[in-house]
Amino acid sequence: MLLALPALLGLVVATFILSRVIPGDAAATLAGDAATPAQIADIRARYGLDRPILEQAIIHVRQVLTGDLGNSIFTGRPVAEEIAQRLPATLELTFAALLLSTLLGVPLGLIAALDHNGPADHLVRLVSVAGLAIASFWLAIMLQMVFSMELDWLPLRGRIDVALGLPPRVTGFLLIDCLLAGDGRRLSSAMLHMLLPALTLSLPGLATIARFTRSGVLETLQKDFVLYARAAGYGRFRLAAIYVLRNAITVTVTQIGLLFGGLISGAVVVEAVFDWPGLGTYAVQAILAADYKALLAVTLVVGVVYAIVNVVVDVLQAVIDPRVSDGTR
């Protein structure tokens, strides 16, 4: 668990180095097409870009450690502020996707295992292969075409109906803010807007979770204690859905932590297609503008969130399996 801290420090340094070797000159972009070399040099000096790379790195790390993420090279506003503005939208989307992939993936995996090599098993296998193979931008556009354009059941893009507008911002999490405002119409609009992007984003995770759950359940079903429980007269449903699943799920839970990385990177694509005002779209803008300050901050924030999620997963694991906390496993 404590490994998270050095890992994050490593991330800060690594991303900084990466940001300096990628092509693109922030100063030149900022100065515009018509800028003279003197103007560009001026900007470079203002942002400290003319100093030796090592010095820049040290300054950067020191700033990050004091919580200062710097100003966006592009907009000039504090990066921390801009990220705080957009982070909730991305977190809301990824958590919704994580929830969907768990709530759908675990039962699918369980059903597949219980119907080992039967029709349900084959169907679930098909779904999981598709979930991993289909490119999310393609799926997103397909879903938009069918459910938004053709059937007109679901909104095409955005977080909420423009006519309704946003509720008063408290947490930045739209669903929570709508709930806090007691605003049912906005809440349902926000949920409908979330459905397609969350579904798109959840699919690879759903596939992975279904596969791990399936193999975990199959493995657990072979255990002596399952045979014993059957002999002792456990109920069929309880045996499968609780007794076996809890053992099987320990592996799946680890996967959920790892999946979170994929979800964030998937969010970049999904946010772009669904015009979701989150960190993903922000990152895309930052890349296009060679705004390395913003990029570094985004990477760091994502790293922190990822680390937190995995710490939570560790804790969850200890709750599910008592042997983890005892160190006997």
Partner: protein, 319 residues
């Protein structure tokens, strides 16, 4: 036949795929009686127990036979009759409890379904049983996880679990092989005491003729999925009649039943010999043994599946 039989297995056959695991197996246990099942590894002892407990693998078929418990056919209506009335003590106490649930959770779930009374009464009853099986800290045991018990303690826990729904029959599959020698002796003594105190019938699978002699009045000897000899343990151990039993006891007068010393090998379950399944290895085999399945002959104190059981074995048969 009607009568005071507690468990009656009749002409039972079990197949797994093309392999015939059990064929025409029969045994009868009366209330309070103790029956041992012996035979070397792979002869189908566990399969017999699994059939009785209703936990055969999914792909197993039962083409023939019946299992009656308290007069009711439990093959056709398993759930209705036998659950809870047959207590099961497994072979390996380390592997038979789910590591992620507290002992109490697992034991109470079984009682919830198969014992009368509410949860509080169930807890009280388990604690009382924990005392009876001499589990240390009987009150605290319910809230512990399996890995917090030693192997011997786990087996005591499982014996208590087997007793929790007031069974009439206790079924045990080599319940001490996973334990060290001292613990083995304690657990066997415990089982014997509990069975006689509570008037339980016992169906006991073992490799060990010593255990068999002290624990079981009657014995059924299996070879390659068939009963070759059955009767009073004393009589069978003192004067075995089937050539297989005779050779087995000649090799190991008081120890583990395995085939070291008997020439040849146990047939694979999917390649059983015709006729008497022991004939390829039998020193007194006659021509008819290869073609005719020998019926169980009733003598005064036992049944033997060999028409030639009076013939002496040649000296060299056992090496």
């Amino acid at each position: 036949m009607t009568g005071p039989d507690l468990l009656r297995v009749d002409g039972l056959a079990v197949q797994l795929g093309r392999a015939s695991i059990l064929d025409d197996v029969g045994l009868v246990i009366r209330p309070g009686a103790t029956m041992g099942v012996v035979g070397e590894s792979g002869c189908g002892k566990s399969t017999l127990l699994r059939a009785i407990l209703g936990i055969l693998p999914r792909h197993a078929r039962i083409p023939r036979g019946a299992i009656l418990f308290e007069g009711r056919d439990i093959l056709s209506d398993q759930a209705a009759s036998a659950r809870g009335r047959i207590g099961f003590v497994p072979q390996d106490p380390y592997l038979s409890l789910n590591p992620v649930f507290r002992a109490g959770t697992q034991l109470l779930e079984v009682m919830r379904r198969h014992a009368p009374g509410n949860r509080r009464q169930h807890r009280a009853k388990l604690i009382e049983l924990f005392r009876a099986v001499q589990l240390p800290d009987p009150e605290g045991a319910l809230d512990k996880y399996p890995h917090e018990f030693s192997g011997g303690q786990r087996q005591r826990l499982l014996i208590a679990a087997a007793l929790s729904c007031d069974p009439a029959l206790l079924v045990a599959d080599e319940p001490t092989t996973a334990l060290d020698v001292t613990t083995q002796r304690e657990i066997l003594a415990l089982l014997r005491r509990l069975a006689s105190e509570r008037g339980l019938a016992l169906l006991f699978v073992t490799h060990d003729f010593g255990v068999l002699a002290t624990l079981c009045e009657q014995v059924t000897v299996l070879y390659a999925g068939r009963v070759v000899e059955s009767g009073l343990t004393r009589a069978v151990l003192d004067a075995p009649e089937h050539p297989y039993t005779r050779m087995l006891l000649a090799c190991h007068p008081d120890r583990a039943a395995d085939l070291i010393g008997i020439p040849g090998t146990v047939p694979a379950a999917d390649a059983q010999p015709s006729g008497c399944r022991f004939h390829p290895r039998c020193p007194i085999a006659h021509a008819s043994c290869a073609t005719e399945v020998p019926p169980l002959l009733l003598t005064e104190d036992r049944s033997v599946a060999c028409p030639w059981h009076h013939e002496p074995l040649p000296e060299m048969a056992v090496v």
